[in-house]
């Protein structure tokens, strides 16, 4: 029964790969077919929209891969709907000190053709990265110099409050509000039955304690409870916020490899610092024949590093796969350009959404449980493999 969602998840990841492929291939065909019409359209827009200029060039042409990638990746703007979006602060550490401006000044340009001047320096944005602008534009109107696909211009260090960062601030505030209110209600109503929001979350907190911490860590679980509860609720809340399609949600935070990497590193550090002598002896002096020792030492060290790596990739892949599937299913309507496909699409999306609600919880649970399991092996007194 418990296994079901796990196998289902495997299927989902697999099918998401197929979904990407199946979207890519008809799209590539459509592109080659649509070259003429695209050219035509480009000429048309050039003539008509002089005030409009950049962006919105290929209207009518739908590129599913581009749309999906745009939705699941981080961005300097927070897109709301249609053409509506609002700017977030761009903070750059340049050679000449900190520079900041609102990301609306890029005018939605992501091709490197709109120069923003700030503090006497010139910047362009290309594929979500900020570069120092070149003096003059190239033949495509980009203020960038290219070698192959990649610009050779220098990049300032980007400390911008991007969509993901802003979303994380929101969820941090939300978590603080929820848990300070619950903490105070525990204090006020000590010894009494839980009430209101407290009674909603108490079973979950007790679940983390009784199902995750105690069975895996053993009698020393109390010290790790704050950490385990924090990662559990952080991942869960952010997974859920990521599922909300409009404003406060919509950022793919837990499907961002940098975020999951940070979570993985934190859990690695906690495991490493709580490791006792049995744990370290097992790694640096494994019980093997002496001639195998050099190889097994490497193997053990790889084993230690591969555990948090598996955590990082698992969370990242699961959440990103979920987002890609939902977006792919919706994209089908625009790829086939017919309303007839809409009921099927919407039906599948609703099904996926329900499944994603489960996955949001499951991934938070698995991340926390594996961390607890690793802590458990690190603090175990009489070491043996079970």
């Amino acid at each position: 029964m418990r296994f079901n969602p796990l196998f289902l998840k495997k299927t989902i990841i697999l099918s998401s790969f197929f979904a990407i492929f199946s979207i890519c291939s008809p799209n590539a065909k459509a592109n080659s077919e649509g070259v003429d019409s695209a050219k035509h359209a480009a000429e048309h827009t050039e003539q008509v929209a002089e005030g409009h200029e950049d962006a919105h060039g290929k209207e009518g042409e739908f590129n599913a891969t581009e749309t999906i990638m745009e939705h699941i990746s981080d961005s300097h703007d927070w897109h709301l709907w249609g053409d509506k979006s609002f700017g977030l602060p761009v903070i750059l550490k340049t050679d000449a000190g900190l520079v900041h401006f609102n990301s609306e000044e890029f005018h939605h340009d992501n091709e490197g053709s709109h120069v923003v001047e700030a503090n006497g320096q010139r910047f362009v944005r290309f594929e979500n990265k900020v570069y120092y602008a070149s003096e003059t534009a190239n033949e495509k109107g980009q203020y960038l110099a290219f070698v192959g696909e990649h610009p050779t211009n220098g990049k300032p260090l980007d400390f911008s409050i991007t969509k993901n960062v802003a979303s994380m601030f929101l969820s941090a505030i939300l978590l603080l509000l929820i848990f300070t209110s619950i903490a105070s209600s525990y204090k006020n109503r000590e010894g009494k039955a839980p009430k209101g929001f407290q009674s909603l979350l108490e079973p979950i907190i007790v679940f983390v304690r009784d199902e995750i911490a105690r069975p895996n860590i053993g009698h020393r679980y109390v010290g790790y409870m704050p950490f385990l509860l924090t990662i559990f609720f952080f991942i869960w809340i952010n997974n859920l916020i990521g599922l909300v399609p409009i404003f406060p949600g919509g950022a793919n935070l837990t499907g961002n490899i940098a975020v999951t990497f940070t979570l993985g590193v934190i859990s690695f550090l906690v495991v490493s610092f709580s490791g006792n002598k049995y744990y370290w002896k097992h790694i640096f002096a494994p019980d093997v024949p002496w001639w195998l020792y050099p190889i097994m030492l490497i193997v053990e060290i790889i084993g230690v590093l591969s555990k948090p790596f598996a955590l990082i990739v698992r969370l990242f892949a699961n959440i990103t796969a979920g987002h890609i599937i939902v977006l792919s299913l919706i994209s089908l309507i625009f790829i086939f350009k017919t309303m007839a496909i809409a009921p099927v699409s919407i039906g599948f999306v609703l099904f996926m959404y329900v499944l994603e609600l489960l996955v949001a919880f499951l991934q938070a649970f698995i991340f926390t449980m594996l961390t607890a399991l690793f802590i458990g092996t690190a603090v175990e007194e009489h070491h043996h493999y079970d």
Partner: protein, 75 residues
């Protein structure tokens, strides 16, 4: 909160824990083979060998070490 803990062994949790353990072992296997193969390729690049002996050796050692590691953990 109450001080009583449920003493009964949870079956579903056990299966999930097994999933965690064995998927972790599989992952470890991939990384170990990958690391040794990569080291072999790098060594061949560095020494500019005509036949990629170190790549071959690295792959074999990687597979052997991964197998040995799995058997050791399952014992």
């Amino acid at each position: 909160m109450s001080t009583q803990f449920p003493q009964k062994e949870k079956k579903p949790n056990e299966s999930l824990r097994n999933y965690a353990k064995y998927s972790g072992m599989g992952f470890q296997m991939i990384v170990i083979i990958g690391f040794f193969a990569w080291a072999g390729v790098k060594l061949d690049d560095w020494l500019a060998t005509a036949t990629p002996w170190f790549t071959i050796l690295g792959c074999l050692i990687g597979v052997g070490a991964a197998m040995y590691n799995i058997v050791r953990q399952l014992k």
